[in-house]
Symmetry: C2
Subunit: 369 residues, 2 copies
């Protein structure tokens, strides 16, 4: 299998603004090309669009808007981890030899149809993700004796970190009491425990080893990939206080990259809701079950941006199709030492965790210089 | 690049019935497993859903309904050639080594949102494909001096061939006069010149060489792949009487398979409308520009099913996300000599041509035993 690397990226700010999906796809793609004027668009073999938007044929539309005539052009959807699914698909096109350079552009509008989970009868009448998040929160707090105040630190930390991310939706910091006193959505979930839907786009350019070396002197390589789908209905395979698909995907990705979790210097994990961050850290093996909040606490107190440096989904906002790509861009910046005020020390090996629908599916990527 | 083969397939009838998208995906997948009871679902690494339907997370939903826990699970959309895009994506997952066995299930409902082309301002107010088809028909007829009666033979032939396809939407045969006298949709297009939207699903199972050989003693291999996207707007890159994307995709696929067009014994081409069949045959190089109808005429008169044996899109119906997969299944059956009354002689090398939106993008596959 030939090596696959990342040579360029672009993004829009994540906002509550009302833009057409085509416009924001184009905007983050334009940002990528403006930052990398030497890239020859004629060399782009594939354009993949990651989105839950209902508009069709977006990849040929984006290609025409951008002046690209690719061979391969299609959209990819898998709810909240559409972005990393697209990255894995691009990896496959390149390492199979069908493509040498692949543009991926992910985007979502604030009113994405992917926010309503229509099919899962285990939720009864409750089609919004806040209901699985609420059940996860109750289960996790009960099982491990965690208080609302303790869990609120995830939101406090991630809003703090997002303040150093110029593209983040959140522009504010909050105290533990702010989180606990924010609007009560359910018995176990406050408004500030939730990532928020927003409008945003992120684009990334992947290439084969030869093309990477021709285009950049500071490449970042995708060295580990793990994916797992356990079900579509959240009560079927989850323990409600851990993430089985994340555990399997994490182990596969680390094995492929020939690393253990202790080698990971910086990570983006999928904090769609506060409780997801400690659960993800535990399922990935960073820490034992029930102990996720202890490392989150330590990182927060020492102002260490190791976990979710861009502010996580809670701080950055969650435009579904763009999220996994935005997470990946953050790890690229960390490894390239260009993350400015968010920069973590000694970032040599990074990890991305992106999941969908109560962790019924997960993708884990390992990135290295 | 490791070889990729096809080991199983399943389908539903194509009808005007009202079924949920999940139900028909499940039905064709079930048909596949019932025909191949020895396949171990645990070995399926990826489940790809090909559709224009607006429902989200269909791949994990289908996986759960079918009892599969794949690694990779996502939907793929690229309008009418979503099906072959999914096959190429599966090919890449397998030949890159990320998967050994990939299930692809394509489906559409009769009311697919992919039938309205919202974005292309070159159509003015005319968002339905009949308008580009009408312009293509006028242009092709004028340029090459073809009459309505001559072009109608495509529809006559494909309805005739569909009568031998038990899953086809059409159950009737028509005369040239029936076609020419059918409802006038535009000056240049009659109802019977059009493929019809319908409800249907088709599933196919791809695998790596080792897994293919373990599961079947009559494999069919994907030996050629070609894809090209020229634009999203149909007036930008087309001559209006030929298909540039088809020409490029066809040349690439034949080159990869180390064949010339004269080696092709049987082909499925994308006759979304009558005029598309001669245009596709010419753009693929079967015959010189303007001469497509002469071979179609010959095949019709000699009752030779070489082109569109299952009845084409006009006879079989066109459930967008399923079409490319259904075309591929037909070529598999032809090469396996199991096409019954549709069987063509000496079918050793087959070709599939699947395209979207006025041939602004095309996929061509070459299949061999």
């Amino acid at each position: 299998m030939s090596k696959v690397g990342i040579i360029a990226y672009g993004t829009t700010p994540f906002t509550k603004e009302d833009h057409k999906i085509e416009s924001i796809l184009h905007k983050s793609t334009n940002d990528l090309f403006q930052k990398n004027p030497n890239i020859d668009k004629k060399e782009i073999d594939a354009v993949l669009v990651s989105t839950n938007n209902n508009s069709k044929y977006l990849s040929p539309i984006l290609s025409e808007m951008t002046g690209i005539q690719p061979k391969i052009a299609h959209s990819i959807e898998s709810l909240c981890n559409s972005g990393t699914n697209s990255i894995v698909s691009a990896f496959a096109y390149i390492s199979s030899g069908l493509a040498d350079m692949v543009l991926i552009s992910g985007a979502e509008r604030y009113d994405s149809p992917g926010q309503i989970l229509e099919w899962d009868n285990s939720r009864g009448e409750f089609k919004h993700p806040i209901f699985w998040a609420s059940i996860f929160s109750k289960s996790y707090k009960q099982k491990f004796g965690i208080s609302d105040e303790e869990l609120a630190i995830v939101s406090v930390k991630n809003h703090k970190q997002a303040k150093e991310n110029p593209n983040a939706l959140s522009k504010k910091t909050y105290t533990i009491q702010d989180v606990v006193n924010s609007k009560k959505l359910t018995e176990d979930l406050r408004l500030l425990d939730c990532s928020r839907p927003c409008t945003g786009s992120a684009s990334i350019l992947l290439a084969s080893e030869e093309v990477v070396r021709k285009n950049t002197d500071r490449p970042v390589w995708i060295t580990g990939i793990g994916q797992k789908t356990t079900s579509a209905g959240f009560t079927k395979n989850n323990s409600l206080s851990s993430m089985e698909s994340t555990k399997i995907a994490g182990q596969s990705a680390l094995k492929m990259a020939n690393h253990t979790i202790s080698d990971i210097d910086v990570a983006e994990v999928h904090d769609a809701f506060s409780v997801c961050e400690p659960m993800a850290l535990e399922s990935l093996g960073f820490v034992n079950p029930g102990k996720g909040m202890s490392i989150i606490n330590d990182l927060h107190e020492t102002n260490n941006f190791k976990i979710n440096p861009r502010g996580g989904l809670i701080g950055t906002g969650h435009p579904l199709g763009a999220t996994g790509i935005s997470q990946t861009i953050e790890i690229v910046q960390q490894l390239q030492k260009s993350a400015e005020k968010r920069q973590t020390d000694n970032a040599e090996v990074g990890l991305i965790h992106n999941m969908s629908a109560a962790a019924t599916s997960s993708t884990v990527l390992v990135l290295e210089k």
